[in-house]
């Protein structure tokens, strides 16, 4: 697979480390009354879709940036790549 890095252009996926579902960006609030349940679901449960999947890849052998890659788990086709930093900011994190 080739991942089209937003800053560096097309890179071999072997340069990256895969973490998993991009929902891992949304860490639950540890002070919420439901924190124990929220963290269980955050840490252990996955949507695991057959089809389009937003996922976190780390460019370890490159610029060490975190990316959100939108990839089809049925075909391995990649439709979109964004810096995880930008995705997190769009979701209201780290203003």
């Amino acid at each position: 697979m080739i991942i089209n890095h937003p800053l560096l252009g097309p890179r071999d996926s072997a340069e990256f480390i895969y973490l998993g579902d991009a929902n891992l960006i949304d860490r639950p609030n540890w002070q919420a009354p439901t924190a124990a349940k929220d963290f269980y679901e955050y840490a252990y449960l996955r949507d695991n879709p057959a089809g389009w999947h937003d996922e976190l890849w780390f460019h370890e052998a490159g610029d060490r940036s975190w990316l959100v890659v939108t990839r089809n788990t049925l075909t391995h086709e990649i439709s979109n790549v964004a810096l995880a930093r930008d995705v997190a900011r769009l979701r209201g994190r780290s203003k």
Partner: protein, 416 residues
Amino acid sequence: MRYSGFRVIKEALMGHSGWKPIWRTPDPQAHYDYIIIGGGGHGLATAYYLAKEFKQKRIAVLEKGWIGGGNVGRNTTIIRSNYLLDGNEPFYEFSLKLWEGLEQDFNYNAMVSQRGILNLIHTDAQRDAFIRRGNAMILNGSDAEMLTTAQIKKRYPFLNTHDARFPIKGGLAQRRGGTVRHDAVAWGYARGADSRGVDIIQNCEVTGFRIENGKCLGVETSLGFIGATKVGCAVAGSSGRLMSKANMRLPIESHVLQAFVSEGLKPIMPGVVTFGAGHFYCSQSDKGGLVFGGDIDGYNSYAQRGNLPVVEDVCEGGMAIFPALGRARILRMWGGIMDMSMDGSPIIDKTHIDGLYFNGGWCYGGFKATPASGFCFAHLLTNDAPHPKAAAYRFNRFEKGLMIDEKGMGNQPNLH
């Protein structure tokens, strides 16, 4: 029809005109006591033990394609019980004991071959860990043996014992481990289940569950609605896809694992050798092909095919430990979809929906578990209580912190 040597001779004299199809092709009935979703090894074994051991009736197995066309047809056929942890080792030893009596039990030649499995060690730390593991196996009634480099060299003279990075310093052997003809496992269980009245319904895809007031009443399929008192799901690889139809999120990711087989060669590999440090393992099939594989590709996938970096990684590992492999040509390669669970161990449990039961999360170790998985799942379906050997395989272990994490990797499925 019972199979026997006498029967083979008789059929040979009769021009083989007396063999019959070994399972029926029934139309689905309106309602069953038990529906098993998934006509793979685990689903068929579940139906077989439900009918044979637990004396249940009115059972159907629903399969979206043809039986044995999923992971039971796409694995590397290894059986073993070399686990460390208390939640795992008794279960896998139970499975190995069932393998040992399987062919007599279901009267079908599954070519169970206890040719032994060897895990190589390269460092003092690995030796300590494998001695501990071997002791855990022995404590649980299994067999384990530490081999010296000289013993390994004698039995496997083709191994490179002097690799600069990973010199072979010994190994943990389980002589009762080995290989099985994988398709015959599915066919043997299917035949045994069918002859006890189980309806095996192929080309019948489950498209949804009918759930009312927290109770599962049956399944919607491509052949219409089929009612059931209890529904058991055994579709490892596609668990996420199936259980999402019941609005369940699972502690599972689906990943692709590749495997390879070389052209047929004369016997060279006596048993199974695993080179964990180099991400490579190998055995030789009865047809002569070297069957080998390594790590999962490492990203979510339902594609049943992998990518080239892992092919290179596996072949590098193979060349490091088994240089003669380089003279063989790869005949076929394929990918299977694994239910990678959050701790590397499976789940056999009730769901929060009444009448809906789940069996999955087998990671890349489901084949060896087939008999015990079927037996314990049938026990759960019949008695509504887990079998003692599978009592640890519960959904709630993640919430309670009771993970069964053999590799100590935490909730990172692509590292198990």
